[in-house]
Assembly symmetry: C2
DNA sequence: CAATCTACGACCATTTTGGTCTTGCTTCCA
DNA sequence: TGGAAGCAAGACCAAAATGGTCGTAGATTG
């Protein structure tokens, strides 16, 4: 249950890696435009994950406008936005699709028991809570765990009532 | 991603159903011992879900001490504890097994990149947060959405730092 | 133009999930 | 006392999701 797919896992790792590279490039005063661009192969090697698979993941990430790709020699991928502006939720959704907890929520009306299902609404709340939680965590937070996370969202998180 | 299996879904529905039955039985001043016991078939029919499958789910739930089973004519299942004392987390874990977000967390050390994975710890925090969230929601909360949910846990929920 | 990248889609193996069937055991009660 | 009604357990199977590969085509640079 509640398993994060390996693809999403890989994606997050790559994002984090790129975020680190961006920081390094900035420190070195490098060209801001392509700061920290790395090829799929480089990242794959750094983490020992199947290069071809990672490539595909990065492509979907690029399609979702989370990454900027640049083909050709010395090309590669770079973050489309500052790491702090990319939430883990976006990443996961981009990779694994918009599917969420129950079948009914996303594949709107797919579950044939939707009519006499009494558990649907409460579960949607749980779902929302998790979404909120994930949305509150940026890629930047992954690289250096932050304790300044939005306390504001706490209320919405545990609130199941309408 | 983060998909709740249908089995868990069914399980929750059944639990909720039994919780309602328990309330009804109590109101009618019925025998407290087997209050609201229902057969697997009854529940399955009420929600139009495959009876055999539901039966198996209820069995695992009974094995996990969440339900009490009683064989024989007029037998069936009843909640082992008051609905307010059964958390959705327990239910889900009983049915879908202890698997959680990343492979590394539960199948301790299964992921072969565990060594050079830098994302593991932060994800564990996220995982814990979801666990806490789920643990805070009881079956009783499903039947009648409560707004008196523990605000105390909010802090722990969003805290990713160590 | 050649090397180095990304882009995209088809394809396949493995695992997980959802669901069925069969067989056996327990309890009640007529 | 013997069914009927119920649970218990396991083998088994079909469909879907996941993880991963391959091949080909197009962009970019030097
Ligand atoms: S059973 Fe209810 S909660 Fe589950 S998918 Fe169907 S409608 Fe949604
Ligand atoms: S990649 Fe990292 S987070 Fe994902 S399973 Fe492996 S060790 Fe855990």
């Amino acid at each position: 249950m509640l398993r994060l797919t390996k693809k999403a896992d890989y994606g997050l790792m790559a994002l984090k890696y790129l975020a680190e590279q961006a920081v390094l490039a900035e420190q070195a005063g490098a060209d801001l435009n392509l700061s920290g661009a790395r090829s799929a192969k480089d990242i794959a090697e750094a983490y020992h994950i199947p290069p071809q698979l990672l490539a595909k993941i990065l492509q979907t990430l690029a399609r979702a406008n989370l990454l900027i790709s640049h083909a050709g020699t010395n090309g590669g991928y770079a973050l489309a936005r500052p790491a702090a502006d990319i939430s883990t939720f976006e990443v996961i959704r981009a990779i694994d699709g918009p599917l969420f907890i129950t079948s009914c929520i996303t594949i709107h009306g797919a579950c044939d028991l939707a009519g006499h299902c009494t558990i649907k609404e409460p579960l949607r709340k749980v779902n929302d809570s998790i979404t909120t939680l994930l949305s509150g965590i940026s890629v930047a937070d992954l690289i250096e765990p932050a304790d300044h996370l939005p306390a504001a969202m706490a209320g919405g998180l545990v609130n199941i009532e309408r």
